[in-house]
């Protein structure tokens, strides 16, 4: 019968043991020796992290400086006397000042 398959096994590329592995390794080694046209993909936000750190640092510095400036402008006025700075209530501060003047006068 002419349409029976022919025996072409002498042409079989796997007649040698390990021919398949050698072939695949040959291709992959030759590919590895070239620059890779398909680098590992790491997503659309790749690189954002490298920008995030300096931006965050700069923002922190700016915010800190701004907060300090605002607190200076809006905060309570600096104490004018030692008594005020150590928290002596206003009603006593007047008498303290008077006593100081009196005793100072006596010393003189």
């Amino acid at each position: 019968m002419t349409d029976e398959p022919l025996d072409l096994t002498p042409l079989d590329p796997d007649r040698d043991d390990g021919a398949a592995d050698r072939f695949v390794a040959g291709v992959m080694n030759r590919i590895a020796a070239r620059p890779d046209p398909h680098p590992v993909s790491i997503g659309p936000l790749w690189g954002a992290a490298s920008f995030a750190t300096p931006i965050a640092l700069a923002a922190t510095v700016i915010l800190t400086i701004a907060a300090m400036a605002l607190s200076r402008r809006n905060g309570p006025a600096a104490p004018e006397t030692v008594a005020e700075s150590i928290g002596v209530p206003g009603e006593f501060r007047g008498s303290l000042a008077a006593n100081a003047t009196v005793s100072g006068g006596e010393r003189r």
């Binding site: 002419t2 349409d3 029976e4 398959p5 022919l6 025996d7 072409l8 096994t9 002498p10 042409l11 079989d12 590329p13 796997d14 007649r15 398949a20 072939f23 695949v24 040959g26 291709v27 992959m28 030759r30 590919i31 590895a32 070239r34 890779d36 046209p37 398909h38 680098p39 590992v40 993909s41």
Partner: protein, 180 residues
Amino acid sequence: MTVTPTDEQLVHATLAGDQASFALLVHRYRRAALARALAVVADDAEAEDVAQEAFIQAYTELATCRDPARFGPWLLTSVRRRALNRIRSIQRRRAVALDDTVPATAEPAGELDRRELRGRLHRALAQLSLIQREVVLLADLEHWSHAEIAAGLGISVLMSRRHLSDARRKLRTLLDTPSP
């Protein structure tokens, strides 16, 4: 249960940087690529080199494969083109080095018989048209169906049947004739 990845999945994985996926594609289409190259160049070593180069080119240009599900036919087209270029290059080399003689190498008797058998098959195959060689190698060496051959070579199933029938008939006649 092991799920075999499709060509499309392997192509996409390769494009995402997974070289192991491409190694699976090489393993899957190695024999078909070798058969197609062999049909053109009629030399085992040349066919292997052509097939390897076609795979490397396929890897490099994988992003241009418009239909990853049809990686096989896309690759086999490249194999054929490369093999035809190789044949032209071999013919030019032979024309230049006409007087070169190949030194004989000592071989075991069994290997000599196999080499002689392969030589007879190659000589007989050389009497067929290129498309007949491609079809008969894919059918009788790779055991592809007519549908697979038709898809792989870009011909109809009817033409695949016709080429295979013609190729087998011619080969039987040639191989039954005692070699000179």
